[in-house]
Amino acid sequence: MNANVYLPALARIAGIEEETRGARAIKTFRVEFPEGGNFDHACGQCAMLSLFGKGEVMISIASAPAVKDYKQFSIMKSGRVTTALHDLKVGDIIGIRGPYGNQFPLEQWKGRDLIFVGGGVGLAPIWPVIQTAVANAEDYGKITVFYGARSSRDIMYKADFEDLARKAIVQLSVDAAEDGWQGYTGFVPANLMDKAPSPNNAIAITCGPPIMIKFVIQNLQKLGFTDEQIYTTIENKMKCGVGKCGRCNVGKDYVCVKGPVYSWAELKTLPQEY
């Protein structure tokens, strides 16, 4: 990391994958560091991506910490900076600074079953945890991944899911009925209840649209998961990323520093703002 926390390192766009199209398109970017400036990160951490003349955005690092050659970001087109990011080509240079935020406590989860529940682009922040867990499968119990999108066209990381299905139990869903769809039809929280994973010695990690997270947590509690067994990530509008600009706090916590990872036990002590 730079001595000046606000000054980004420069990195090169090495690969761009179109995950979904349409008004809220998602693209996955692989970013390399030919001039150095790469940094290690832990699962859950984020980085500030910079486009000069446009601004910065805080994005979860979607690649596993074990991957050293590049960093992966899956970004939904939403506003000024993300639209400009979507206009980039392979070879373009962006600014990047990080890693920021806290991490998923993977060490504490060793020996336990892991149940991932993701929706839409919310798969990206928990993807590094999934990858790390399956790569070190002997350290963890049963690994299950629930993931849903609006339609089969909107499913992210399609190619990776084929591979993942060999190493973990994958439960995909689409919101609306679709010809030829083999998986579950319905919202992610409903799919979760349908499959009813056991809370016994398990940890549930969820990320997605706020409304999905709300119902997933409710359903996990119905299934018998305790508040300490449920993990999620929160976000807020961010500018500095280092706990100084005063914008991203939820109660006493600056999300860019104390978050984005929270257990529900911790999160419910903060002011509720959904």
């Binding site: 001595a3 000046n4 926390v5 606000y6 000054l7 980004p8 420069l10 000069f52 003349g53 446009k54 601004g55 910065e56 939403s78 506003g79 993300t82 240079i93 600014g95 706020p210 807020n236 509008k237 500018k239 500095c240 280092v242 706990g243 100084k244 600009c245 005063g246 914008r247 706090n249 939820v250 109660g251 006493k252 520093v257 002011p271 703002e273």
Partner: protein, 345 residues
């Protein structure tokens, strides 16, 4: 290090300092008191109440260029870091509430990630405080905030006005340096001087101020009454401007924006500017969701940040009782009254 400076020698001391540093002092211009640059050879009069703008601008200016960028189409951008120039700066007439606020600002900007822009300025600005013999404003409440009219926290030197002279106490090494540099001008402190200072300070402590219940009570009350309907009531008149936050000596929210100066090649600056949690879109998400979408929620954020969250994080209140937000709020929203009413004290 305690010394005495005769009032008629203040001008000389200022002039001496001015030969090696930029000097600022409160001046009355355009109907308000503000820190103004002191021209060479001009003396200063420390007879202000409190300045409208706080001393935080010296370490956290309203506009700070973080770095410049230059990018030719298709090529890598060049970044030029723009750390602040470190011309020595000495500021006179800083009230103890602004000094204590500096301690709070230090927590924000130097703990965790160290902010190099803040540190560059903080390390070389010398704050020469002036004790309050009387509350500068009817809205002062420094005592309730754990401070005092003669607190030394955050200051490098503290002056106290006595009869025809000032007690000058150097607190930090930076403070000692500027006092020692004017050594010939100062007189030794004698016992009667010490007694006079003690009396002035004791009298000042007894002057009536606004009063707020103790830190722990207010913090606990704010936490308990987070959902109180009183927030909406108390904020109903709020117009959503930045008077309270921009005049506050310990408010530190900022925005970062790119300001483009040229297009081919692309040139510009990444600039930090003060921002304000009372502006409606401060927390507006790109999705259109705004966690603090009304004045009640935003007032609650400001008051809770000052009197609860900062306490939870740093075991001290962020507010130091200067009263500027109360005096300058266009509609009379009063943090002392708000905190008291919401917590039911």
């Amino acid at each position: 290090m305690d010394t005495i400076l005769k009032k008629e020698r203040l001008g000389e001391w200022v002039a001496q300092i001015g030969s090696r540093a930029r000097v600022f002092a409160p001046a009355y211009a355009d109907g308000i008191w503000n820190f103004s640059p002191v021209a060479a050879g001009v003396s200063i009069e420390l007879d202000h109440g409190n300045t409208v703008r706080p001393a935080k601008g010296f370490v956290f200016p309203q506009r700070e260029v973080l770095y410049r960028f230059r990018q030719e189409s298709g090529k890598a951008p060049e970044l030029t870091e723009t750390l602040p120039d470190t011309t020595p700066t000495v500021v006179f007439g800083v009230r103890p509430c602004d000094g204590r606020a500096m301690v709070r600002n230090d927590k924000v900007f130097t703990c965790g990630f160290k902010d190099p822009y803040y540190s560059a300025r903080r390390d070389q600005v010398v704050f020469v405080g002036l004790a309050c013999n009387m509350p500068p404003s009817q809205n002062c409440f420094c005592l309730s905030m754990g401070g005092s009219p003669h607190s030394e926290d955050g200051l490098d030197v503290l002056m106290t006005e006595l009869d025809g002279r000032y007690h000058v106490k150097a607190i930090t090494p930076k403070g000692k340096a500027i006092v020692e540099s004017g050594a010939a001008l100062f007189d030794k402190m004698q016992v009667p001087d010490g007694n006079a200072v003690a009396k002035v300070h004791a009298d000042a402590d007894k002057c009536p101020q606004r009063s707020l219940a103790a830190m722990e009570k207010i913090a606990a009350g704010l936490k308990e009454h987070f959902e109180s309907p009183k927030w909406d009531e108390l904020a109903r008149a709020c117009i959503g401007c930045g008077a309270c936050t921009y005049l506050c000596p310990s408010c530190h929210c900022f925005d970062i924006n790119d300001e483009i100066t040229g297009n081919t090649p692309l040139t510009g600056e990444r600039v930090r500017t003060w921002d304000n949690c009372q502006f409606p879109d401060f927390t507006m998400h790109s999705s259109g969701h705004n966690p603090r979408h009304d004045t009640g929620a935003r007032l609650r954020q400001r008051v809770s940040h000052k009197l609860l969250y900062f306490v939870e994080n740093h075991n001290m209140q962020q507010c130091t009782g200067c009263g500027r937000c109360i005096s300058h709020c266009p509609v009379g929203i009063d943090i002392v009254r708000v905190a008291t009413e919401v917590t039911g004290q």
